[in-house]
C-alpha cells in the first residue's frame, strides 16, 4: 500500500495541477453561465494562446510570466472579436447552433495553426524550470508553485471584478436573467462578447502559466478541455467559486487515483466523479438548483 508520505506528495502534486485546471475551467464556466453554451473552441483557443507565449519568448526572449499582461489582453481582444464577428453573428441566438459554430471554429483554428506553425512540438526553456521546493516526499517544481499561486490570485481578482464592478454586476445579471437584464437597459450582446472575451483571457493566463512546464502543438489544448468540462459540472455550471474549488478537487482526485489505481485506470476516477455528481447532485457543489 502507498505510504502517507507518497500520498501527501500526491495531494500536493494534485493541487499544483489543479491550479491550471482552475483557470481553464473558470473561463468555460463563465462562458456557459452567461451564454449558456458549451464552448467547443476552448481547447483550440488555449492552444493559440500557448503559441502566443511561445512566439513572444522565441522572438523577443520575453519570459512567459512577464508576458501575462500581454497575452491576457490579446486573448481578451481575440475572444471578444471572435464572438462579435463570428459566433454571435452566425448563431442567430440558437444554442445548438453556437455549439456547431464553435466546433467549426475549433477545426479552423487547429488547422490554421498547423498550416502556419507546423506540427512539431515547441517548448519554452526558462532558467528557473529546474528549481524546485522539497516538502517531505514532494518535489515541487518552482514553475508549478508559481502557476498555482498565480492562478488562484487571478481567480480571486476576477471574482472581485464580477462581484464589485458595474460590468461584473451586469454580467451576473445577464447570467441570471437574460430578458430582465435587457429590460433594465443592459446591452446584452455586448455583455455576451465581453464574457466570452474574459473566458478566453483566462485561457491566456493559463497558457503563460503552462508553457514553462508543458509544450505546444496544434492539438495540445484539447487535453485540458475534457477535464475542464468535468470541473465545470462538479463546481456547478456557471458557478465561479465552484470552478475554482472543483479544479483543485479534480486535480487531487486525478493525482490520488493515478497513484492508487494506476495511471490509466486512475483517469476513470475523473469520469466516475463526473457521472456521480451528475446523477446525485447535478447542480454541482455551488450551483443553483435548476
Amino acid at each position: 500500500m502507498l505510504d502517507p508520505g507518497i500520498l501527501f506528495a500526491g495531494v500536493l502534486n494534485g493541487l499544483m495541477a489543479g491550479g491550471i485546471y482552475v483557470l481553464v475551467a473558470v473561463g468555460l464556466t463563465l462562458i456557459y453561465g452567461v451564454l449558456h453554451i458549451i464552448n467547443f473552441a476552448h481547447g483550440s483557443l488555449l492552444m493559440l494562446a500557448m503559441y502566443a507565449v511561445f512566439f513572444l519568448w522565441r522572438l523577443s526572449g520575453l519570459d512567459p510570466y512577464a508576458a501575462l499582461p500581454i497575452v491576457i489582453g490579446a486573448a481578451f481582444a481575440f475572444g471578444y472579436l471572435l464572438y462579435r464577428l463570428v459566433i454571435g453573428r452566425l448563431s442567430h441566438g440558437r444554442d445548438e447552433n453556437i455549439l456547431l459554430i464553435t466546433l467549426g471554429v475549433s477545426i479552423v483554428i487547429d488547422n490554421v495553426a498547423l498550416l502556419l506553425f507546423g506540427g512539431n512540438t515547441q517548448t519554452v526553456e526558462t532558467p528557473y524550470a529546474s528549481s524546485f521546493v522539497q516538502l517531505g516526499d514532494a518535489f515541487l517544481p518552482l514553475p508549478k508553485i508559481i502557476s498555482f499561486v498565480a492562478s488562484l490570485l487571478i481567480c480571486a481578482l476576477l471574482g472581485l471584478f464580477l462581484a464589485r464592478s458595474d460590468t461584473g454586476k451586469a454580467i451576473r445579471a445577464v447570467a441570471r436573467e437574460r430578458q430582465g437584464a435587457r429590460l433594465v437597459g443592459i446591452d446584452v450582446d455586448n455583455i455576451f462578447a465581453l464574457s466570452y472575451g474574459i473566458g478566453i483571457a483566462c485561457l491566456g493566463a493559463a497558457a503563460c502559466l503552462l508553457m514553462p512546464t508543458y509544450y505546444v502543438t496544434p492539438s495540445s489544448g484539447h487535453a485540458f478541455v475534457l477535464v475542464a468540462f468535468t470541473i465545470v459540472v462538479l463546481g456547478g455550471m456557471g458557478s465561479f467559486a465552484g470552478a475554482a474549488v472543483g479544479g483543485l478537487i479534480i486535480g487531487v482526485v486525478e493525482s490520488l487515483g493515478g497513484l492508487v489505481l494506476g495511471e490509466q485506470l486512475g483517469q476513470i476516477g475523473i469520469s466516475a466523479i463526473f457521472i456521480l455528481i451528475l446523477l446525485l447532485k447535478p447542480s454541482g457543489l455551488f450551483g443553483v438548483r435548476q
Binding site: S91, E96, L103, V105, V108, Q264, I268, S271, L279, P282
Partner: protein, 320 residues
C-alpha cells in the same frame, strides 16, 4: 407529395445503380455516406426527435463493435449471430444510461455531458482490461466469405449500408406518423406541458435512448466487419460521437432525411477539400488547408441554414 415520392424513387434507383457503373472510390464513399446516415439517424432519434442532445453516442457504437468482435474472436460466434447480440447490448447500455440519467432528472447540457462521461469511461475501461485486449485493439481475421459477414467485393458492403440507411429512414418516417414519435416530439418541445398532457416523459425518453442505442450498436458491428480492426479510440472516441451529432444537426435534427443530407454534405465537403490539398505537391504541407475549408463551410452552413439542410426541402411536420 407526388413530386417528393418521385424524387425519392429516382434517388433510390440512382443509389442502387451507382456501384454498378461508378468507380470503386465512389462506392467506398457511398458506403461511408450511408453508414454515417445510419448512425446519424440513431442520434436523431434521441437527439432530434426526443430533443435529448448527446455528446457521447459513441458509447453505443463502441458497445456494438466490441460485443460482436469479442463474440467472434474470443467465443467463436458467427458474425451474423453476433450482430443481433451487439444490437441487444447497445439497447441495454442505452436503457441503463437512460434510466440513470433521466431518473436523476438530467436535461439539456447536463445530459449531454453525462453521455460524454460515459463514453470516456467506456474508452478508458476498454483501454485497460484484457477482455478487450486493452490498447492493442482487436483484429478480426480476414476471411472474406459472406457467411462471416465479410465480403470480398465492397459492393456488398455498399448495398448493406444502403439497406441499413433505408431501414433507419423508415424508422424515422414511422416516428413522424405514430403516437410514439408524437410523444417524443411533445417531450422535446415542452417536457412539463407533455407531462401535463399525461405523457410518461421518463418512459418515453428511456424508450428513445434504448432504440437509439440499438441502432448505433448495429452500426458499430457493421464498421468492425468492414474494417476488421477496432481499438478503444476508434470505438469510443469523441470523434465518432461528434460525427453522429454533426451530420444530424447540419442535415436537420428531427427530420427524416436530416442525417442522410448531413452525411452527404459533410462527406462530400471532406472528400472535395482533401483532394484539393493533395493536388498541389509543389506546395508543401498545405494539407491543413483542406480542413480549414471544411471548418469554414461548416460554419457557413450552420450560419445560413440554422434549421439544417433538410428544411430547404420540405416544411416541418408539426404534430398537433
Amino acid at each position: 407529395m407526388r413530386r417528393q415520392g418521385l424524387l425519392l424513387a429516382l434517388a433510390l434507383a440512382a443509389a442502387i445503380v451507382l456501384p454498378l457503373v461508378a468507380p470503386g472510390y465512389l462506392v467506398e464513399v457511398g458506403v461511408l455516406v450511408f453508414f454515417l446516415a445510419f448512425i446519424g439517424q440513431s442520434w436523431n432519434i434521441s437527439g432530434g426527435f426526443a430533443g435529448q442532445t448527446s455528446f457521447g453516442h459513441a458509447v453505443f457504437f463502441g458497445t456494438g463493435a466490441y460485443t460482436s468482435t469479442i463474440l467472434q474472436i474470443t467465443f467463436g460466434w458467427n458474425a451474423w449471430l453476433a450482430w443481433p447480440a451487439a444490437v441487444v447490448a447497445g439497447a441495454i447500455v442505452g436503457w441503463i444510461i437512460a434510466i440513470l440519467s433521466f431518473r436523476a432528472g438530467l436535461r439539456g447540457s447536463y445530459f449531454a455531458l453525462i453521455t460524454l462521461a460515459f463514453a470516456e469511461a467506456f474508452r478508458i475501461l476498454a483501454n485497460s482490461v484484457s477482455f478487450t485486449h486493452a490498447g492493442l485493439g482487436m483484429l478480426i481475421k480476414a476471411d472474406p466469405r459472406p457467411a462471416n459477414f465479410q465480403f470480398r467485393d465492397p459492393i456488398w458492403f455498399y448495398y448493406l449500408a444502403l439497406a441499413l440507411c433505408i431501414v433507419s429512414l423508415l424508422i424515422a418516417w414511422q416516428l413522424t406518423r405514430d403516437r410514439f414519435g408524437a410523444r417524443l416530439v411533445g417531450v422535446r418541445e415542452n417536457e412539463d406541458a407533455a407531462r401535463a398532457l399525461g405523457i410518461d416523459v421518463f418512459a418515453e425518453k428511456v424508450k428513445a435512448l434504448t432504440l437509439s442505442g440499438a441502432i448505433a450498436a448495429a452500426g458499430g458491428t457493421f464498421y468492425a466487419q468492414k474494417y476488421l480492426y477496432i481499438d478503444p479510440n476508434i470505438a469510443f472516441g469523441v470523434d465518432k460521437s461528434i460525427e453522429m451529432l454533426l451530420v444530424t444537426m447540419v442535415g436537420g435534427a428531427g427530420t427524416i432525411f436530416g442525417p442522410l443530407l448531413g452525411a452527404l454534405t459533410l462527406t462530400g465537403v471532406n472528400e472535395a477539400t482533401r483532394a484539393l490539398a493533395s493536388i498541389v505537391p509543389a506546395l508543401k504541407n498545405v494539407q491543413p488547408l483542406s480542413l480549414i475549408v471544411y471548418g469554414v463551410m461548416l460554419i457557413l452552413i450552420v450560419g445560413r441554414l440554422p434549421d439544417g439542410l433538410a428544411r430547404l426541402f420540405h416544411r416541418v411536420q408539426r404534430h398537433a
